[in-house]
Amino acid sequence: MKISSREVEYVAHLARLEVTEKETEKFTAQLNDILLYIDKLNELDTKGVEPMSHAIAVTNAFREDKILDSIGTQQSLSNAPDARGEFFRVPKVID
């Protein structure tokens, strides 16, 4: 096995996903298949091939440093599950 159910649970937790035991089992098997396939790709000799991080051959897409209107506080907050005054409101976080 390339991946254990414990690792799947850990990754799910990092992504704040709740998964049932059954789902964990299913995802472990699926992820295992994916990783095995990656192993197959690794058999290919890529010596001398530059690693690539993007599928398109575009570089240097820039923007000028010019202020445009923001959308304003009211609109910014309009999708928020909870807000108060001009702020988003969230459960208390302190550390």
């Binding site: 937790h13 990092l14 704040r16 991080s53 993007h54 398109i56 575009v58 570089t59 240097n60 897409a61 820039f62 923007r63 000028e64 440093d65 010019k66 202020i67 445009l68 923001s70 959308i71 304003g72 506080t73 910014s76 907050l77 999708n79 108060r84 005054g85 001009e86 702020f87 988003f88 409101r89 969230v90 459960p91 208390k92 976080v93 302190i94 550390d95």
Partner: protein
């Protein structure tokens, strides 16, 4: 046991661009909460970030000013973690391929230069601000700061004492402000520092376990926090405890560091290249264009001041700590042609006034031109150095020219020989005993006569002339 301290610093500096790093919202500090936001910096689904070119150029400036190698190609990565000040659930930063690497900053301590290595400089976005409710279990989120451009400057673990760390930090700060790419305001958080610190028995090669210190918002606090933390680590080691690798927060009021605990697992950031942002290629032409536009940097200015103006290294250090102060000094020198005298007046009286009022040289009521005029008036003998002390204080208080103040206060020096001879004659007559002493070889008494003349003339006599006349007349 004799321990050696090992310190490395991570500095975050906000770039002085008008807009955020990936959208056109304003970076202005102090706007009403969430007013500088848009779908991009709010992290709405389906939006695309586009890189602000100026951020790259500013970061390149810093890279060149700290002797880094700028990578021909670099890219952005996502740093994944959940926190309410980060609406997307990841911070766009640089990871495997940063903008620049392998630089250094020179520290100059009493003529001994030491290199502090820079591991890397990369670009990233700032997070928002949280306000915690004191009575209810909620926090309030302001996302104005989300997406404000930052550069992170990571040093090698090259510093060996808290003083050295503070010195390095001051040099970095100075360079950023000289380059005009960061306002350097530590209280408002536009210049922030985290410190990694460990100790090891002197002579040991391996590093000890380090702790990371956060929440220090002044140079002094960085030094204090490091001093405390080193003592804490030494105490632990000497008493059989173990140092835990962790993040600790500096508590300014208590003067201690406390473990931050929690979030241990959250350190798994799962970086990966951001597919929304394409790679950045920097060619030699671009680098040279940025290099050509670099201003004179603090260290170069310091060395030039010593050479060109023949002032002590200490003076040059003080005068170049702030670019505006250095410009002011150069202006005064240009107009007065007296580099050392100008340095003395600026470092002495002018800076004392400014410090008392917590004013910046930019807001100094004494214009460089006026200070130069005053220096010229002393040189010409129109006023004495003692009078000048009074004049300069008035210049600061009123912003008037020295000529006007001298006229108003009637502070004209007595340079009329006849008048002074009269005064000296009567002083000699009244102090025959001292005259005899002087003529008998006790030259120290000369000072007494100078004092008497100054007293009689209320300090208005030209000192050179007094000396000359006294010497002649006392000789008998």
């Amino acid at each position: 046991m004799d321990f050696e301290t090992v310190i490395g610093l991570e500095v975050h500096a906000q770039m002085l661009t008008d807009t955020k790093i990936f959208c056109n919202c304003s970076t202005k500090f102090g706007g009403s909460p969430n007013s500088h936001t848009c779908p991009v910096c709010l992290g709405m689904p389906g939006v695309l970030p586009v890189l602000n070119k100026k951020v790259v150029e500013y970061a390149m400036k810093m890279a060149l000013a700290t002797n880094c190698i700028i990578n021909k190609s670099c890219e952005f990565a996502r740093k994944n973690y959940f926190y309410p000040d980060l609406p997307k659930g990841y911070q766009i930063s640089q990871y495997a391929y940063p903008l620049a690497e392998y630089g250094y900053v020179l520290l100059d301590t009493n003529g001994t230069q030491r290199k502090i290595g820079i591991t890397r400089i990369h670009m990233e976005e700032d997070a928002g601000k949280l306000l915690h409710d004191e009575h209810n279990p909620v926090s309030y989120v302001d996302l104005n700061r989300t997406g404000v451009p930052l550069i992170e400057i990571v040093s090698e673990p090259d510093m060996r004492s808290p003083e050295e760390a503070a010195d390095y930090l001051k040099r970095l700060h100075e360079i950023l402000v000289y380059l005009e790419i960061c306002d350097g305001n530590m209280e408002e958080g536009s210049f922030r520092c985290d410190a990694n610190v460990s100790i090891r028995p002197r002579g040991q090669k391996e590093y000890g376990t380090r702790t990371e210190l956060k929440n220090m918002n002044s140079f002094r606090n960085v030094q204090r926090a490091l001093e405390y933390e080193i003592k804490r680590q030494q105490y632990l080691v000497e008493n059989g405890g173990t140092i835990v690798q962790e993040t600790r927060l500096w508590d300014d009021a208590q003067g201690v560091t406390n473990s931050m605990r929690s979030k241990e697992e959250a350190h798994d950031y799962r970086y990966f290249p951001d597919p929304d942002l394409v790679p950045i290629l920097v060619d030699e032409v671009w680098v040279e264009k940025v290099r050509e536009n670099l201003p004179e940097l603090p260290l170069a200015k310091r060395e030039r001041f010593v050479k060109e103006y023949q002032i002590p290294a200490y003076d040059a250090g003080v005068l170049t700590a702030d670019k505006a102060l250095a410009n002011y000094y150069e202006e005064v020198v240009k107009l007065s042609l007296k580099p050392k005298v100008a340095s003395n007046w600026i470092m002495g009286d002018v800076m004392r006034f400014l410090n008392e009022d917590k004013l910046d040289i930019r807001r100094c009521p004494i214009k460089a031109e006026s200070l130069a005029d005053m220096i010229r008036l002393i040189e010409e003998g129109a006023i004495s150095g003692k009078m000048a002390k009074e004049v300069v204080e008035d210049m600061y208080k009123t912003g008037k020219s020295p000529q006007d103040i001298i006229k108003e206060k009637g502070l004209v020096q007595i340079t009329d020989e006849g008048e002074l001879i009269k005064t000296i004659t009567s002083i000699i007559e009244a102090n025959q005993a001292q005259v005899a002493e002087y003529r008998g070889g006790k030259e120290k008494v000369f000072g007494f006569f100078v004092g008497q003349v100054m007293k009689a003339t209320k300090g208005k006599a030209n000192p050179q002339l007094v000396n000359e006349l006294l010497k002649k007349m006392l000789a008998g």
